[in-house]
Symmetry: C2
């Protein structure tokens, strides 16, 4: 049996069901092996950034990691930006990266490059397989690392993939390392809780139960609770705790934390600014504030938060607030951030998954949707734009019975617009809402924050997307996704409802005033 | 004066005239500085792979390197694949890569990653500026290295770019290292020339004079002459030497080299297979053949080839063969590779620049165009697909009075399709010919060459671009480029003539049978 086939059989046996692929010549035997392993669904992506972003969306929503299949160093390179986001999200992914045959590498053929160097900065685990007999044990190590820590990269030389090996080549033994004891941290967190304490939530998945526990802790102790600025995944709505995120603008975030004596990190990392700007803070917590890491960013802090709630006598029941019944949105007002948010909150179906790369235009959408039916919200964890459409694509593969909504800023959409085609091919239930204001609006804001108040001529040109204007409706149709433009709040609401009721993908180009 | 401005002033003084940019917050002071340095034209690209590919096209055609302006590690990552191609082409480029402020880096903010690790595999030169006062001398070193060796990467922390420095901070002193002596190699090459000698041409630029000298050498000595498989830039047509390229298929290439006793490398590297495949050669020259490196791959081998021609008594005059007068192409035949080639050869205007990423469909186009008026031909030097449209974009910025033709396979076009928008915005004279056969045709071929003769079901799905079919005409229009579909040879000829006569970009979607 070819080693390539043995590898895929092992992955299937471990629960892998999807492979986001853009293969090339050096991956031919992996492509051929897919036929023998029908449990793994190959999904062709027209660009590798779509494949890695989709694997991120899949991994955030599914019980098991997806594979990516990438072509040598340049194929990996095209996928790096979204692997960076996945690395920051700690999403379980196993990337299979083709490499030249071991005996060809020293010839330095045109496509040769240092694949390990490129992969290392975005890999929680990295290995180049050096013997065909090790392919299953390497995959086992990679899958285990992916589940524990985030993206894993397995580099496979072509001649190793095409080698014949024994069908029963064993995998690695299971990981029996004991879970770390968090008891002492619960005690110290419980002692620290009070009006000058901030609980910062994060981690790979923030469950509705975790959010409810945090909310109960806040109500009992007077502590403030925030979700980290860009959470990997948060379950919310349906009357669950309407938690706020720590604001993106560092001056606002540091203001909210200014009085904190203690910051309890439950899955979140120490709060820092996204960017340094002249004269603005980069560490958001006061220097004298104590930090308690209640739970590391690699998993699900639900149990620890529930234990902490019990420890402070905040009960263990879920307290559901009444779901906000959003009023009908019926307005001929031109679209702006609040109109968009209202339309979304009023229409979002139960079980929706929101992929949020809305940048400036989606400012209020998260808060507005807090009262909508239960849904998941996924954000841009690593700041590498071009995540939203691929992430939505992968989430829709993972959850075929749920509606995915991509809230997508126009400039960022254009980095990985090819995702639309994979949505059309696979018939995925994705509603792509392109927020078209014809600009890199966030950069105009950042320019001012950098102290450059008069917008310069160069900046006016480099932040503008209107000369010529971009027609996302035509582009979407070119990729096989039905699309329409809307200009008012009620047109948007109607288009959203229609899309939610129609299987398969669609694109709504929301023209902002 | 801000260090960012001093840097750009120095670059302008050194002849830099273009900056292909996709900046972010950490590059704001470089953006603002562009206003003060109007000699450098900022060209916004919607995706970094467009910026780096355009800088490659610019650098292949212009006297001076272009800048790229990239946003941190993820922005660089998006540009890596085309920097890989530029690195293989040895194109002079100076990439300015933003980095977090020095005092913010240790906070490990979301966008932080190891930029040097990502840049190193594609950089002939690499430096992170550590003091504002060194910004000009670092840029001087980078520009010098770019001119000599290929892509240079200068990483600029934001606080260094926004620091104030003295306006007259000096650059580095000029490079006075002597040119290497090639005399002895001319003698040994002259002695080796004969019927069992192959001269392999390559380098950064193959001038018409270099090709003519090689042709004279072949006629005088009986040697065979080939251009390397993927030349960076070759000047041809207009009755110049109709040289053939070494074929891409390793079995064909090794057949042509099978009887060679000596291979003279004039700007080319040792011929090797693009990929290893089971049972096929990876070194294309016979193991016993002697290799003589007449000229390294970093420059222009014209003078050395002319000296060699003189040394073997092959004269020094340019011998122009009669230009082939291409017959009128007037056929209702459906498009195939030979019809495309005939239409192109019959219509190509004098001074055209062809960016060739046509893969399987352009197989005959290079040979067919040998008799066309004088033109330059640029190819996919590093095998990282998605080069063609950006390369054409940059070549058109470098040469505004010449017509650029992008011969572009459909699958590859979709990696960097956003290039069309920059063409529209800048009003560039680019004719984009998309060769639409609805497939990754080259992969079907490679699958057979890999010994997998029955196309597997997975491969049939992963190499197919027809479910749904992609409408490049709509996509182009969405990006602001006028477009049309053609299905026959005469429709294509007419569309080419119309495009060549019309200023600005256009796209022709050539539907292959």
């Amino acid at each position: 049996m070819r080693a390539a086939q043995r590898l895929l059989e092992y992955a299937a046996q471990e629960g892998v069901t999807a492979c986001f692929a853009n293969p090339g010549t050096s991956e031919m035997h992996l492509v051929a092996a897919l036929d023998a392993v029908p449990q793994i669904r190959p999904i062709l992506c027209l660009f590798e950034g779509v494949a890695t972003g989709a694997a991120d969306g899949f991994g955030r929503m599914a019980a098991n990691p997806a594979l990516t299949l990438l072509h040598l160093g340049p194929g990996l390179a095209n996928g790096l930006a979204n692997l960076h986001n996945a690395y920051r999200a700690r999403t379980p992914i196993l990337s299979l990266i083709g490499e030249h045959a071991t005996f060809h590498r020293d010839n330095n053929p045109p496509l040769a490059t240092d694949i390990e160097a490129l992969a290392r900065p975005v890999s929680a685990w990295l290995k180049t397989t050096t013997r065909a007999e090790a392919i299953v044990s390497d995959a086992a190590l990679g899958l285990r690392a992916a589940r524990r820590d985030g993206p894993a990269s397995l580099i496979l030389p072509a001649d190793i993939a095409w080698s014949d090996i024994e069908p029963d080549t064993p995998g690695a033994s299971a990981d029996h390392s004991p879970a770390p004891d968090r008891h002492s941290k619960i005690d110290s967190a419980a002692q620290a809780l009070g009006a000058r304490t901030v609980v910062l939530l994060g981690g790979r998945r923030l469950s509705a139960r975790a959010c409810a526990a945090a909310q109960r802790i806040a109500e009992k102790t007077g502590a403030q609770v925030y979700v980290e600025t860009f959470p990997t995944r948060i379950e919310r709505g349906g009357g669950g705790a309407p938690l706020r995120r720590l604001p993106y603008l560092s001056e606002m975030a540091s203001g909210l934390l200014a009085n904190a004596e203690t910051i309890i990190l439950a899955g979140a990392t120490k709060p820092v600014a996204f960017f340094a700007l002249p004269g603005r803070p980069t560490e958001l917590a006061p220097p004298e504030a104590a930090l308690i890491e209640l739970f590391p960013p690699f998993g699900d802090p639900t149990e620890v938060l529930e234990a902490l709630a019990e420890a402070v006598g905040a009960g263990s029941r879920h307290i559901l607030t009444a779901a906000t019944t959003a009023g009908a949105v019926d307005s001929n007002a031109p679209l702006d951030a609040s109109g968009l948010s209202a339309a979304l909150a009023a229409t979002l179906p139960e079980g929706a998954i929101v992929s949020d790369e809305s940048n400036t235009l989606g400012l209020y959408a998260f808060d507005a949707a807090a009262g909508a039916p239960p849904h998941d919200w996924l954000t841009l964890t690593g700041g590498a734009i071009g995540q939203g459409l691929p992430l939505a694509t992968g989430a829709a593969v993972a959850c075929p019975n749920r509606r995915v909504v991509a809230l997508q800023a126009d400039g960022s959409a254009l980095y990985t617009i090819q995702a639309l085609w994979s949505q059309a091919r696979e018939g995925l239930n994705v509603t792509n809402v392109i927020l078209n204001n014809g600009a890199y609006a966030i950069l105009k804001l950042e320019m001012m924050r950098a102290g450059i108040n008069a917008q310069t001529e160069a900046a006016a040109a480099l932040f503008d997307l209107q000369r010529p204007s971009i027609d996302f409706t035509e582009i979407a149709q070119g990729f096989g996704v039905p699309a329409q433009r809307v200009t008012t709040v009620d047109e948007l609401s109607a288009a959203l409802r229609r899309s939610f009721a129609t299987p398969g993908p669609s694109l709504i180009e929301a023209m902002f005033k």
